[in-house]
Symmetry: C2
Subunit: 147 residues, 2 copies
DNA sequence: ATATTTAAGACCTTTTTAGTCCTCTTTATA
DNA sequence: TATAAAGAGGACTAAAAAGGTCTTAAATAT
């Protein structure tokens, strides 16, 4: 199955939300979960995990919450996805060099290798800085203001 | 998780095996399973399924087995994968147009759409005719003959 | 007849996904 | 210093998907 897990999807939404905050502003789970349409408890667990991985910094207690611990320009979609799901291997035979005993005789191997390269490129060339600058987000804000 | 299922992997090996047979030669499960390193009973189920889907034609009884029911040049990797796993959607939000209520405000959506296009292109541009012509396979045959 | 082959479907185990829930700790502030 | 507001940590669960096996039946060549 080639599908992004919910966990990674939610992680992306969360990191994007933080990328959109004014520099230094602390956001807390409840706010983010509501804004991004993510189950609160699940997001809490995800953020806890992303903190350990060095994407976020948390502060406990009243007024606490999360901030990005890296520049949004230095975080790619691929980073967040692989943090949540582990390294991407489109086919088991791409896990290790020499893992697949068929590598020398299997013509499909090369197709996978190239497909994977292209796929990773798609995801790694997209930073959260870039995402945060999307005109779509500005449009959304405008719409809200009109209301 | 972005990973090819075993079922699809085995299906690919099976179809490739059939693509390599002399035109009209019937191959049977036991032979293919052994040659391709696939659990026999599982491959039987997979082939049964691929027959229903119109990729293979089966004949029962002694001397029976499977042949391709399409030209290898007309079957792509994507065809076989989607037959086994269903249509590929890298993200749930790509399932239907207008499925994702965030489509107008979510900047990630477009990244997924493009990544998916490129990915499908990688898989659909590879036919079994092309795979069967790979020099790798000829090398493998040579090696065997030497033995 | 019998041996060989697929067809069909019931059944099973393990892994992954997608969460929830409860208790504990930290911290600002009234 | 009591209290409310936050995250930390871990146990737990339900549902779905993955990856099979097994048994019985039907077809067919010899």
């Amino acid at each position: 199955m080639f599908r992004l897990s919910k966990g990674a999807e939610y992680a992306i939404r969360g990191v994007l939300h933080l990328s959109l905050q004014p520099r230094g502003r602390v956001a807390y789970i409840d706010e983010i979960a509501t804004a991004q349409g993510v189950p609160r408890a699940y997001l809490a667990k995800i953020f806890q995990y992303l903190s350990k991985k060095g994407f976020l910094k948390s502060t406990r207690g009243a007024g606490g919450g999360f901030v990005l611990d890296r520049d949004p320009g230095e975080i790619t979609l691929l980073d967040v996805i692989e943090a949540m799901e582990g390294p991407i291997h489109l086919n088991d035979c791409l896990i290790h060099k020499d893992f697949c005993e068929r590598v020398d005789t299997c013509p499909v191997h090369d197709v996978w290798r190239e497909a994977q390269e292209r796929f990773l490129e798609s995801l790694s060339s997209c930073t959260f800085e870039k995402l945060a600058e999307s005109p779509k987000l500005k449009k959304a804000t405008k719409t809200k203001k009109k209301k």
